[in-house]
């Protein structure tokens, strides 16, 4: 019998934001849904995140951002991924992302934008359905 490979997800907290309740709850929900989950912990710079992606080779990266730094940090992460030739990783962002910022982030290759009150299964489905590999 061939064992199906687990989806590997990296849950990240970019920037100085300490609000990690959502990230931790999401990490558990993804794990409970059968995925392999790595949580970076807090205070990750874009360089830290990209180096973890290179090292861990996840299928999806979920960024949790509640401090308002998303427009500044997300494009830097995407840029660095491109520099390293990584284009097959799903990058999702959620937290407090105002509607008006979504278009800008979408143009930079980010997806998701799930905010407070989102059901966990919605995010689990999002990961399953948007993988690039």
């Amino acid at each position: 019998m061939v064992e199906q490979r687990k989806i590997k997800v990296l849950v990240c907290k970019p920037g100085l934001d300490g609000h990690d309740r959502g990230a931790k709850v999401l990490a558990r929900a993804l794990r409970d849904a059968g995925m392999e989950v790595i949580y970076t912990g807090l205070h990750q710079t874009p360089a830290d995140i990209v180096s973890t992606i290179i090292q861990e080779d996840p299928d999806a990266v979920m960024l949790s951002m509640l401090s308002g730094a998303h427009n500044a940090l997300c494009p830097v992460i995407m840029e660095k991924l491109k520099e390293n030739g990584i284009d097959d990783v799903l990058v999702g962002v959620g937290g407090i992302i105002p509607d008006e910022d979504k278009t800008f982030l979408e143009k930079n290759g980010l997806k998701g934008f799930y905010g407070p009150g989102t059901e966990l299964k919605t995010i689990v489905e999002f990961v399953k359905n948007n993988l690039k590999r």
Partner: protein, 544 residues
């Protein structure tokens, strides 16, 4: 005494809405409470008069009949100049105390132009780098007349020093200053996560501020021992109560180890609690907190002064209880939560604005939040009688129950070797992660209804106007900082920072050195970098 027919009153019947009724601490509720539930109840011992040991009924004898609670709205965003304008707006509308929210780069002790500050400057609070920003923040506000609370932890001593020097420049001596620094590092490791140094040197800095203020800034509250963030991170009400008080005991013990007399510093400790949706659970939490604190301070730490045993607290309504969906519903939630805080005897209150699940509050939203407090104070009548819920079988039973459960946690923490070893063993962090995951599962299974979120949903797009922080704030902040670096006496700054480093390596109190450094316009980033050289930094385990 009246006979009670238990078969009729105490057992749940089949016709109930739920199989089990529990509060947010997972304590099961009976349909009815009677004298049977508080058989051992002893008025003098368990409650006492308000303002007297064990303070269950309130910190002061006539409570809000004398003076209403301080209406203190937490505010800070963008530049010092923008926040100064918001403070003046709040003061014009009747706020009675200031409360400063700092930008994340300030909270973590980075200068605005540090790589780590990218995207964060002014977004979650006001951006402060040096004394110059602090002077702007309080420009036109008489610091001898207002009390100010500053939500700052790892660099608390630096911001306090800036406040002292700003007041000095306004012509006011430190004895006149009234306010609070949060300065509660233990809950940072446990929940809010804005730690910088490892726990031991962090505790030293805190005891330094306690010692310094006891001599120089006697009216200042040196720590605001906070449950708020523990709760926001996902704890239950019982965990909030227990972990916060355990932190409080740890500070008392640290200061006593320094050789300070408990009665010299305990009166300057204060608390900060959350107010969530379960009304009675919250009220009983505050009542239990006062009683536990009073008993411990008297019996374990040998406090003699009444002031040392009197737990005073600030309350903020629960940010996590707010919904991004149909944000106006939050006005109702905040009203219930604010009412619980008042009936629980809070000394000051921040009511959240209805738009806070989406952004920092707009002027309109913050005005409604303040008006909510004013309506509770002046229209509801609840402020006219002290502790009106006392004597209710349910309220007294639940107050006892929360005390009991908190005591069980104190035992566990003791077994782990105290608060710091328990932090290092991730005890609190795991307890909170488990509770928050459980809560989320209950929401998802509709075991708990969150109106407008998991039931009664309207699929309407959100039309609430949002407060947007101008990206230009960072640019201007950085330009000003660079300008200042050229203007100040850099030789002197360097010399003072060297002295600070030397003192950090000894056991000297660091506060006087920090005051000297900020006076010469050393930045928060420079002072923290100096201390990091000596103390190192803390790294947490990334558990979930």
């Amino acid at each position: 005494m009246t006979e009670i027919d238990e078969s009729k009153t105490l057992k749940p019947t089949k016709s109930e809405r739920r199989e089990k009724f529990t509060n947010l601490s997972d304590i099961e509720m009976k349909p009815l409470y009677t004298p049977e539930d508080i058989k051992e109840f002893n008025y003098a011992k368990d409650l006492g008069e308000p303002g007297k040991y064990p303070f269950t009924r309130g910190a002061y004898p006539n409570m809000y009949r004398g003076r209403l609670w301080t209406m203190r709205q937490f505010a800070g965003f963008g530049s010092a100049d923008q926040t100064n304008k918001r403070y003046k707006f709040l003061l014009e509308h009747g706020t009675t105390g200031l409360s400063v929210a700092f930008s994340l780069h300030t909270i973590y002790g980075y200068e605005a132009d540090d790589d780590k500050a990218l995207g964060e400057v002014g977004k979650e609070g006001v951006s402060i780098d040096t004394l110059k920003d602090m002077e702007t923040l309080f420009s036109g506000i008489d610091l001898s007349k207002i009390s100010t609370s500053m939500t700052i932890n790892a660099p608390a001593s630096i911001l306090l020093a800036m406040y002292i020097v700003t007041a000095e420049k306004q012509g006011h001596s430190p004895e006149k200053l009234r306010g609070t620094i949060q300065n509660d590092i233990l809950k940072e490791y446990i929940a809010q996560k804005s730690w910088i140094f490892p726990p031991e040197p962090s505790m030293r800095l805190i005891v330094d501020t306690i010692e310094y203020c006891a001599k120089n800034v006697p009216q200042w509250y040196t720590i605001s021992i906070s449950g708020y963030h523990i709760r926001e991170a996902g704890s239950t009400a019982v965990q909030e109560l227990a972990f916060t008080l355990a932190d409080g005991f740890a500070y008392v013990e640290a200061a006593m180890e320094r050789g300070l007399d408990v009665d010299d510093f305990a009166p300057r400790l204060s608390f900060f609690f959350n107010s969530h949706n379960n009304f009675f659970e919250e009220v009983c939490k505050y009542r239990a907190a006062r009683r536990i604190w009073a008993k411990r301070l008297k019996n374990k730490y040998g406090a003699k002064k009444t002031e040392s045993m009197r737990l005073r607290f600030h309350t903020q309504t629960a940010g996590v209880s707010l919904s991004a969906q149909e944000p106006e519903n939050n006005i109702a939630r905040v009203t219930i939560q604010g009412l619980a805080a008042v009936l629980g005897g809070t000394q000051s209150l921040h009511t959240n604005s209805f738009d806070e699940a989406l952004c920092l509050p707009t002027e309109k939203a913050v005005k409604i939040a303040l008006r909510t407090q004013q309506i509770i104070a002046h229209e509801s009548g609840v402020a006219d009688t002290v502790d009106p819920l006392a004597g209710s079988y349910y309220v007294e039973w639940l107050t006892n129950k929360m005390e009991e459960e908190a005591e069980a946690y104190f035992e566990k923490i003791k077994e782990l070797g105290g608060v710091i070893p328990a932090i290092k063993a991730n005890f609190f962090q795991k307890e909170i992660a488990n509770a928050s995951y459980k809560f989320q599962r209950e929401i998802e299974s509709k075991d708990r209804i969150f109106v407008g979120v998991n039931d009664y949903q309207l699929r309407e797009p959100c039309a609430t106007p949002l407060l947007k922080i101008d990206e230009n704030v960072a640019k201007v902040q950085i330009e000003n900082l660079q300008l200042l670096r050229n203007e100040r006496n850099n030789e002197k700054v360097h010399e003072i920072l060297n002295k600070l480093e030397e003192a950090a390596r000894s056991t000297e109190n660091l506060m006087p050195f920090i005051v000297d450094a900020v006076r010469e316009y050393a930045s928060i980033g420079e002072i923290m970098a100096t201390l990091k050289e000596v103390f190192g930094t803390y790294v947490e385990d990334s558990i979930f």
